[in-house]
Structure formats: structure tokens, C-alpha cells
Subunit: 408 residues, 2 copies
Amino acid sequence: MKHKKMLMVVCDGASDRPVKEFDGRTPLQVARKPAMDAIARNGVSGTMDVIAPGVVPGSDTAHLALFGYDPYQVYTGRGPIEAVGAGIDLHEGDVAFRCNFATSDDGVHIRDRRAGRIRSGAAELAEALSGMKLEDVEVIFKEGSEHRAVLVLRGDGLDHRVSDVDPHSEGELLRSRALAPNADKTANLLNEFVARSYEILSKHKINMDREKNGLAPANIVLPRGAGSPAPIDSIASRFKLRCAGIAGVTMVKGICRLVGMNVVDVDGATGGLDTDYLAKARAAVDALEEHDLVFVNIKAPDIAGHDGDFRLKVQVIENIDMMLGSLLKDLHEEVVVALTADHSTPVSIRDHSADPVPVSVSGADSRVDSVREHDEISAASGALGRIRGVDLLPIMLGTANRSSKFGA
Amino acid sequence: MKHKKMLMVVCDGASDRPVKEFDGRTPLQVARKPAMDAIARNGVSGTMDVIAPGVVPGSDTAHLALFGYDPYQVYTGRGPIEAVGAGIDLHEGDVAFRCNFATSDDGVHIRDRRAGRIRSGAAELAEALSGMKLEDVEVIFKEGSEHRAVLVLRGDGLDHRVSDVDPHSEGELLRSRALAPNADKTANLLNEFVARSYEILSKHKINMDREKNGLAPANIVLPRGAGSPAPIDSIASRFKLRCAGIAGVTMVKGICRLVGMNVVDVDGATGGLDTDYLAKARAAVDALEEHDLVFVNIKAPDIAGHDGDFRLKVQVIENIDMMLGSLLKDLHEEVVVALTADHSTPVSIRDHSADPVPVSVSGADSRVDSVREHDEISAASGALGRIRGVDLLPIMLGTANRSSKFGA
């Protein structure tokens, strides 16, 4: 019984709803996608509730489920994922936040939630905040892409159950409140941090220069999405797998790191519409040499969904299909391939929805059903039936002869 | 992203098994039902274990599941549901029972478990029992329809884990026993209540008159189905929905009230074979004006199933279909419609069975599969796959763009 290698391809948000103007079809049904359909034709397909029926998955919780973790057990908020994605080594008891650099004239009213999408100087601004002490608590602060950053509070007696400071739209910032009996200290320190960020950043040379040049100063920090790192057993130790993750988006990379994957950085993998598909395909083929499981996320369909652009979504699905065709052709051995999405992002909704996603699993001597196309409706009639996201990796492991026996 | 309204139509017990004498078809397969088939044709269908595979649902547990509650968490017995249905406001720690008025000549042997299906005077008899004190425990007693009534014991140290007094057939009544270490007090008080009911009711004027007129006196009370109210979050607070329930049967109304629905009383909605279908349809259309979710239960197919009458079951399904056709035609806006049953009541069994039920969900831009008929076999090949009862409402919420995101 030979162990097979595994490839999980996640077309981010590719799953959709039927659109009247396109004969009641979905982008996956309209797109010409011979490689995706070959995966469906050579294997088994199904429909998948990534979290649970009727639950709208976030990208973060969805990927945790796809990697075999119950997000209700391990997910406390987006903060820790962003922090790990930014390269911060989290400790037990830390509380982590996603943040925006923003613009305020008085430390209370927010004029621009993204500080003019600041592109340079954020690293120096972050450095001016990091290392600060609030009572006995240490502040770790690191810039992300554009206006994004992460904040970690490290010290005794912290609790992640606090509300956001970020008002999520322009207007007055919110005061963080404790959402649990023991979270007062954290909420108070968080509010203090925001006030201090305004004091420090308002006077920072970079912001003086920005104002001189007519740019919005990045003079206040708006934290949101508090969370504490869950004690996660790495995917390597749970399943005895060497895993590699390929993704353009920082958040997805963060989850890959969180579960102990080796994150492969690919030149040109931007997480945008202009991502270099063939570079990603080559990276996946190469990564399969040294790893048992390679995970690839392509963000573009989700972007097209959020834009409400049906034709663009069809186009990016066809681009991914070309990538997949090239990838599958270059594989050196039999590999179990799973093709799916992390959630639906219907163009009619322009946001994630609870609709289940299609999933196809093929490879070597896997079973083969009568499904001939990888789309929301065709796949649902397949032999995989209706499964949950958390079941996908175990099903791949089974097909790859890597599952362990329970009992004797 | 517009929130859509929702309509859940439950054809009570409509699901069945194939019957040889009718070409191995089920009543749903034989009935002419264009409206039901249209729901299947315009949406997605599946097969549903209302509780879990192989579990025979009661009407009570089934409806709890259909309303999104895990019956294993919230159901302790039928008593509380009947009590709420009868309009009693239950407190934590109460123990509630379903009861029959019965006829006994000595307070021990039961001559008629239904006291000649007493039709009048039950309210006065109930009043004679209600308000009684048993040690420090208060007795609340209220009549139901015909020989039915509910008993609530209210006081400290009660426990619902006690056995029935009702022998469930004519013969000697049973002495209630404690089924848990702390339930002795409750069992003893229950036995005392039954003895007191015989003392009081035997001498009651209404029963004297009944005997004079050759009617069986309603001179003893037989409690069964002990339960305590579970702390249930209302459907309104769990899902942020204004809900209305339309049903003829008291028990179903009780569950609607228990979960916080507005119960709409419809003149002519009897819960019997003679129910006024069009009045129910009009009430549903009206209720959708002021509510986000309207639930309609039609009991008639279950009655035909219990009667073992295939042709009658076909007939009532066709009647419901007419109602549905009228209802759907009168809707003022796009509504997500779910059509299903709370359990199977096969005419060959004359009772509930564990067979899963067909389910179809359509509305607006919902996905559409290739299922063209709403019946047990056609639906099972649809894109909904095999779901559980507790998943139906979340799936409707997702289709109606009302689900909330987990994660970011």
C-alpha cells in the first residue's frame, strides 16, 4: 500500500449562485475549464459545507476547516492569524489584533480609516509604537501591507474577549469594552494604546512629511478582531505530514504557518488578479518533491465575486484552469488532487454566502462517479455526497492510503 | 444584499414507503401536485433525517429540530410542550405532565382511559384541582381538548425524572417511581395528586350529572410524559427573526410558542381532515407581511397515515397542493420556500417511522438542480444531499441572505 502525495487546490470564493442574465448559470458552469472537469471526471465529487450548513465562512475559519481543524475549537478571532502571518511568534496568553493605520484630527473622529492607503513609512511608524509598556504589559506592533498592521499585547491577566476600537466606517472611534468578566484590564489597556498611538504618531516625522505633501497622516491605530492563539497541534504532528502552503494573501499564509505548513513564497504570487499562475503551478510541482501535502490558494475568483463581476470571474476561473492543466501535466507521480473553494462569493451578493461549495477528489485508484463537470450543481450529484470542510483532508488522506486504523 | 422572507411548509407525516398495490409508489409519488413539484423544480431538493438516521421522530422533537434546536438538548418530555400549548407560563424547575381525564370505580382500576371522550365540563373539573397544595408544592391544572389536560407541579426540589401513572391501556393505574436519585419527592407528590384527583372528582357535581346521564365520569387524572422546561433561547433572539406559526394541532402550537413564535389562530384550521386549507393559505400570506419567517403545519397527511388509508393520503396531499398553489400565487415578494415533512407516517405502518423525509428549498436566486418532483425518491437525488432537520432553518437563512459570517 503505497502512500500517495496530495495536492489541495482552493479556488477562493469560486463557488456561486445562478445568475439570470447568464441563463441561470454560475461562473463555474459557464467557464471553459477542461482541467477542473478532468479532476471531476476522474474522481468523486460532492457538495461541501465548509463550516456547517447555513454558516457563512470567513476566509480564516474556512481554511482552518479545510486543514482539518474544527474552527469552533481553535478560532478566537482574526488577530492571531494576522500576527502569525506577519511573522510574530505568539505565546500562550497573548492577545492579538488586526489594525488599520488611520487618520484623525483629534484622536477621536476618524477622517480616513486607511490613512490614504499609506504605502511607505509604515515600518518606521510601527517601530515607534512597538516595545511600549502599558502597566506590566508589553506591546508588539508590526506593519502589514499598505495601511494594515498587527498589535500583540503580552503580559499576565489578559483576555481576548474585548470589543473593537475600529468603528468599521468613518466616524467616531469606539471605546473597547470587556465582553467577559475578566477582560476589563485588556479593554482598558487597548484604549490606552489607541490614545498613545495618536500622541506618538501625530508628532512623527513621517506624518509631518505626509501632511506637507498633502497626504493623510497615519496618526492613529484602530484595532479589531481580538483573539488569543489556540493551542494548535501542527498538521505535521497530527497527520505525520510534511506540508507546504502556496498563497498570495497574507492571511492565508498566516493560517498555513499557524498549522505548521512551510510557506513557499512565489515571485509574482500577489493574491491579486495579476497573480502569476504559471509560477504558482511550478512552485506547487516543485513543492511536491519535498512534501506530502501541498496546498494552493488562488484568491482571484473571490475578488471578482466581491466586485460583482460575472465575466471577470469566468475569466479568472479559466486562468486557474490553465494553471491546473499545466500543473497536472508536470506531476512526476500519482497524486491525490482535491479541487474546491473555501466559500461561495456570489457575484449577486458581492460577499461570502452560506451556499455550499463543489468539491472533487481524484487520483490514481480513487473511485470514479458519473460527474463530468466541476460546478456547484454537477458536483452535488456525485458519490462524495454532502460533506463538511473538516472532513476533506481526512478523505484525501484515506484516498492517499495515509489514514490510520481505529481499532483492530 | 437583500434579506428575503421565508416560508416553511410542513406536511405532517406526508412522507411514506412504497406500497405494492399502488405500483410500489408512495402517496407523494401518486398524488397530482403541481405546486409542490414547482418548488422542487425551481430549487434544490434532498433527503432529511429530521432527528438522526434511524431515529423515529415524535411530532414534538421533530418540530424542535425543524426550528433549529437540537432536541437532545432541549427536550425532556412532552409535558412542558403541552403546558405551553395550553397557555401556562412555565418557570424554571417546574415539572409538567400531559394528562387524561379517565374513569375509575375504585381509584385504582381504570375503566375508560378517556372518560368517554368527555366534551363538556372539563374546565370546571380542572378548576376543582388547580391551586391545590401538596406539601410546599403548588398544583396548576388546566383542561385541553376533549379528555386531555395538563398538570404542572411548582415548588422546590422537584425532578422530572419520574415514571408515568397512566398505564397507556385500560387496567390498573401505575404508581409513579423515581427514575433518578433526587426524584422521590416528585414521584410521591404525583401519586398523592392522583389519589386526591379521585377523591375530589368523584364527588364533583359534573360527574354526578354524567353518571345520571349514563356517561362515564371523568373522575381520575392519569399523568404521563413528565418534563421540565429547558432554557430555550427564542428563535427571535437566536436568529433575529420575527416568526409566525400557523397550525391546527395544540401540540404544534405549543412548540411554536415555546420557541417564541407568534401563533396565528386561523378560523377553520382544525388540525383535522376538515381543515380550511384556503384560510390557512390566506393567513400565511398575511403573516408574511409582518414576519420574516412563517411556519405552516398541515396535519391531515399524518392522520391518513395513522389510518392506513393510502387513497385518503393522496387526496389530502392534493388538497394541500391546491392550498400551496394559491399561497405561492399570492406572495407579494420573493420568498424562500421550504417544503418538507416532520416525519414519515407510512400507511403500511400506521405510525411514525424512521424513514427520512423529502425536502425542497426554492426561492429567488437559489440554486436549481435537476429534481422535478417533490417525493421521497426524486428529492433524494437533489443537490441538497442528505441533511438533518436541525440544518434546514440555517440552510433557509443562508438562501435568504440572513446568515451571519463566522470569522472574517
